[in-house]
């Protein structure tokens, strides 16, 4: 069942990859295990364990990156586990680390470590402390799987774990209704757009006959494929990206996601989660090179989202919402770069933006504090913008932006209301339903 190593992989890299994935997995289990066994663990000991695990993971990612960049075999190392659950079904799990993946793994462990360290104090003695760190570890595991997966099963699993942990962290303050409702908005956007990922993946597997992401570029070159299938798969992946990277029309969840604690906002919507879709598209550059319609769609969506986020972000009064829109706009720019075929630029953009935005998010509570004391540019800009809006004849333009161009209303009218009406119609058609009986009485 286990372990078929590519010849190019050194033993050190395998061990490092194992430690990297294992540290996150152990981190998840170290919190879930005592809870399942109904044992109390003190916050200090829990955080100590997490700190050392994170340190181990970070060092492992550094070693892995060093191995990749020092290797002579085209900067790609692979270790695959042939997970063959049955004679009838062959699934494969594996890890492929190239330069991009190695850099991102270092980024993931570094930024998660920083956020984790920040959260040690930020959430000290908070009721949901253990839950937060559990979800953070789960998120890190998902990101590592997503970035390093060599096969589709791993990629989809990582993608789903990132979405789930994001949802539950938005609903961190679960006793309040608004965060829970906002988490549901994010979850619905994720799940609906994930249909694109599943279908796109299945289409590509069907077309290429392999679930190995690393093999796709060569297979795409050699295989005689229907252009339609590739176009369709490309569009499906773009749809998946819309959800995870908060692009129009699936963008309304991102400002709502700011209901979560600030460290989670930093790591998810400033640093990593919002870039998951961008990373996926960078990986699928060979597909996008063939799928022209998908690239055009990327240009349109990225451009419109960047404009939308820039306009709306300028009138937001809340610093985290403003940063969220800024992240949205930057993700839009990255999609434009990918659409233009500049995937290397997009990768650099991704790394720089992740670091910068994390710092901004972590700094946000202090920035507000400073704003009240020293009138920094954030509150000043807001005042200026607001007063300018009131003074000029562009009040309606200002209101429009404040209302997010009515995006929520549009989504509600186009998607939610028709579905609700259909569901109500179905319930009224149901002769066994109380509602149908009440409706019948009402009409009489």
């Amino acid at each position: 069942m286990f372990s078929d190593l590519a010849s190019s992989l050194s033993v050190i890299a395998v061990i490092a990859a194992g430690i990297l994935i294992g540290s996150s997995l152990v981190g998840v289990l170290s919190i879930a295990g005592p809870w399942l066994l109904m044992r109390e663990v003190s916050e200090a000991s829990r955080l100590r364990v997490l700190f050392y695990l994170q340190l181990a993971g970070w060092l492992a990612s550094l070693v892995l990156a060093a191995c990749v960049f020092e290797s002579e075999s085209g900067q790609r190392m692979a270790a695959s586990i042939h997970w063959r659950p049955a004679e009838a079904v062959e699934l494969e799990l594996g890890v492929v680390i190239d330069g991009l993946a190695a850099s991102l793994l270092v980024g993931i462990t570094s930024l998660t470590g920083i956020v984790q360290h920040f959260s040690f104090r930020y959430l000290h003695r908070d009721g949901g402390n253990a839950r937060f760190f559990f979800l953070l570890e789960l998120f890190q595991l998902g990101m590592i799987l997503l970035v390093s997966a060599s096969h589709l099963v791993g990629l989809i699993a990582g993608w789903e774990l990132v979405g789930l942990s994001s949802t539950f962290l938005i609903a961190y303050f679960q006793e309040r209704r608004v965060p829970v409702e906002n988490a549901m908005v994010a979850f619905v956007s994720y799940r609906l757009c994930d249909v694109g990922l599943v279908l796109g993946s299945a289409l590509l597997v069907h077309a290429l006959g392999s679930s190995s992401i690393a093999d796709w570029p060569t297979l795409m070159d050699s295989a005689r494929l229907h252009a339609f299938e590739l176009e369709l798969a490309g569009i499906c992946f773009v749809v998946a990206t819309l959800g995870k990277s908060a692009q129009l029309p699936a963008s309304s969840w991102l400002p709502r996601a700011m209901e979560g604690p600030t460290p989670s906002s930093a790591i998810f919507y400033g640093a990593l989660s919002i870039h998951a879709g961008v990373y996926l598209l960078i990986r699928l550059q060979p597909l996008l090179a063939v799928a022209v319609s998908a690239r055009v769609l990327l240009l349109i969506v990225g451009g419109v989202t960047a404009l939308y986020a820039a306009f709306v972000g300028r009138v937001e009064a809340d610093v985290k919402s403003r940063l969220a829109h800024a992240s949205m706009a930057q993700a839009g720019f990255m999609l434009i770069e990918i659409g233009l075929g500049l995937s290397t630029l997009a990768a650099w953009h991704l790394g720089a933006h992740a670091c910068w935005r994390t710092w901004q998010f972590l700094r946000a509570p202090s920035a507000l504090h400073d704003a009240h004391r020293a009138h920094p540019f954030l509150s000043h800009t807001h005042e200026t913008e607001a007063s300018a809006g009131r003074a000029s004849a562009t009040v309606r333009w200002y209101a429009l932006r404040l209302d997010h161009f009515g995006l929520d209303e549009v989504v509600s009218r186009v998607l939610i209301r028709p579905a609700r009406n259909l569901a109500e119609l179905l319930q009224q058609l149901d002769p066994w339903s109380d509602r149908a009986r009440r409706a019948a009485r009402g009409t009489r």
Partner: protein, 587 residues
């Protein structure tokens, strides 16, 4: 034959113990001090029997014993195990009420009847009558225990009528061999549009344990997969329409669930979704690989049972299943909340659970043949996840009026663990579930191609050895697929083509020289055929059945090899029977 004896004993044990214990509890339950312990012991005994049955065939390897495996269906054994697990968890975990003994008794009787349906071919050569009886017996407890209010008699009667009529239709059609009526009965049981309201009503009013067994068993679909899908390939239009209807039912359930705030009715909607997905898969068969269908069915049985447990635990605490009225779930009962989320996500395919692997496999399979269906399936799964997570999330905030006084008690934790462990265990290592069709593979190794040809000859009234009959050789995958063992034995009884019913050929007595006493003789080469080797079997079109059962990547490799065998590929495309197989893998 030791194996037959042990199988017989285990099969009878698994079916009779819950039936008798259930009967005892219904009749004398009021005198029982601890009906939960008694029902749990009976359910555990049935579960142990099913586990033993599941493991027993693995030790069989020689030709004669492997041939024995032709007489039973691997789907039934695996589903019986899932059902027994769900039954045990429900018997152990459902809350104690004033009617505990009687409710548990009905639950056990229903479980026993369903196990009889799934395992009857373990101890009877021709179990049709018993299977039909079991379908009826499994439905009766639900309708007998329906707790309708005084103003709902008409609605209750009509819902009971629909449920009973579907069971009756399935039973009669199965005994009489009327495939189309069987499909109709199974279709009514799916609660497809516009006849869906009764399912939601039963969910709201019936005992949750019984409803859970009612929803997950799907006897009509099981019997279709068991032996009535041979005529499907001859009616592609009808099958396509039914499949579309089944998927429509699933979508309808997903849509209804999206705006439902009552957990019981939401469970009913999940029943519609489950029935729709499984129905479309069974109708899709044998295009869909059996592992995906079996994995999905197994995961849904456990997931639905888990959700039933969660809902019953909530009802026992706050006497309501209305999500808008319940609050503080995460603060007051975190274990219950986590459990509810786990089951909700498991039925929708959370990574790490069996549903994830099975769902991925199923979507991939469907995409190869009917892409639109695959898109609908993915949408249904996504909406299912959204519905249930939203329902659980509604119970988190502290604005609602009802608070849970108690988290899970140890008995409920054990029951939940019984369901969560296989869901996650098989999600990480799904080999055991996905390898369940191994007897089908054994059949492939036995190389029954010519016997299969004779079967098709009998079926179509052709003479063996004729030109048409030689063309039928390509249809071997029908009986190698594992769906038709019973039909394989039974078709001769109809007397078509001069065949008589006979089991000699399938009892390992390959040298009997015929497909039964007085039947059409098997060609001589069939009696001395060497088993196909694994490699040679995959090389050309004649072995597409093997490719089918070797799974996805193997099928794809087979497809690539078929590019080197253009004749085989063309014949597969034009042949209406083979076209009904895995066109995607062939082309």
């Amino acid at each position: 034959m030791i194996r037959t004896d042990v199988t017989l004993g285990l099969g009878l044990w698994s079916c009779l113990v819950p039936l008798l214990a259930g009967l005892w509890l219904v009749v004398r339950g009021a005198q029982q001090r601890n009906p939960i312990a008694l029902s749990s012991c009976a359910a555990a005994a049935a579960w142990l029997g099913c586990v033993a049955l599941e493991f027993w065939p693995a030790s069989q390897s020689d030709l004669g014993r492997a041939a024995q495996s032709l007489t039973y269906d691997p789907i039934g054994t695996t589903l019986a195990l899932a059902l027994a697990t769900a039954g045990l968890a429900l018997a152990l975990g459902l809350p104690a009420t004033e009617r505990t003994a009687r409710d548990r008794g009905w639950l056990l009787m229903s479980e026993g009847a369903l196990l009889t349906l799934y395992l009857a071919d373990r101890y009877l050569v021709s179990p049709k009558a018993l299977e039909a009886l079991a379908v009826l017996a499994a439905t009766l407890p639900l309708v007998l225990t329906l707790r309708a209010g005084p103003l709902e008699r008409v609605r209750a009667a009509s819902a009971v009528g629909v449920a009973l009529s579907s069971a009756l239709l399935i039973s009669i059609a199965w005994v009489a061999g009327l495939d189309r009526l069987l499909w109709l009965g199974a279709f009514i049981r799916l609660a497809a549009f516009p006849l869906y309201g009764w399912m939601l009503y039963l969910a709201a009013r019936a005992d949750l344990g019984l409803f859970c067994l009612f929803v997950v068993s799907q006897p009509g679909l099981y019997l279709i997969s068991h032996g009535a899908n041979a005529s499907m390939a001859e009616q592609p239009m009808l099958v396509g329409a039914l499949q579309l209807g089944a998927l429509g039912s699933a979508l309808c359930g997903a849509l209804l669930g999206s705006f439902e705030s009552d957990l019981r009715r939401q469970l009913g909607a999940l029943g519609m979704i489950m029935g729709g997905i499984l129905g479309a898969s069974v109708l899709h068969a044998p295009q869909v690989a059996l592992p995906a269908l079996l994995g999905t069915w197994f995961a849904l049985i456990l997931g639905v049972a888990g959700l039933a447990l969660v809902i019953s635990a909530l009802e026992a605490r706050v006497h309501s299943s209305e999500t808008r009225r319940i609050g503080h779930l995460g603060l007051d009962a975190p274990a219950l909340g986590v459990l509810a989320l786990t089951f909700s996500l498991a039925v929708a395919g959370l990574p790490g659970t069996l549903g994830f692997v099975a769902g991925e496999l199923m979507i991939e399979d469907w995409l190869a043949t009917r892409p639109a269906s695959a898109a609908l399936l993915a949408l249904c799964l996504a909406l299912t996840g959204i519905n249930w997570v939203r329902a659980i999330a509604r119970m988190l905030p502290s604005v609602a009026t009802l608070r849970l006084p108690l988290d899970l008690i140890p008995r409920e934790r054990c029951a939940a663990l019984l369901l969560v462990a296989p869901l996650i265990g098989f999600g990480i290592a799904p080999g055991w579930i996905l390898a369940a069709p191994a007897p089908g593979a054994e059949r492939a190794d036995l190389n029954f191609r010519d016997g299969c040809c004779v079967y098709m000859c009998c079926e179509r009234g052709l003479e063996s050895g004729s030109h048409e009959a030689s063309n039928l050789d390509r249809q071997c995958p029908w009986c190698l697929g594992g769906f038709l063992p019973d039909r394989l034995l039974e078709f001769g009884a109809s007397g078509r083509g001069g065949c008589q019913r006979g089991t000699a050929a399938w009892d390992g007595d390959l040298g009997s020289g015929g497909c039964g006493g007085g039947g059409m003789p098997l060609p001589a080469e069939a009696t001395s055929a060497e088993p196909l080797s694994a490699e040679s079997g995959r090389e050309c079109a004649g072995s597409n059945s093997r490719v089918l059962w070797r799974g996805h990547d193997a099928a794809r490799r087979g497809a690539r090899r078929n590019e080197r065998c253009p004749d085989a590929r063309d014949s597969a495309r034009t042949d209406p029977y083979l076209h009904g197989l895995r066109v995607g893998s062939l082309s």
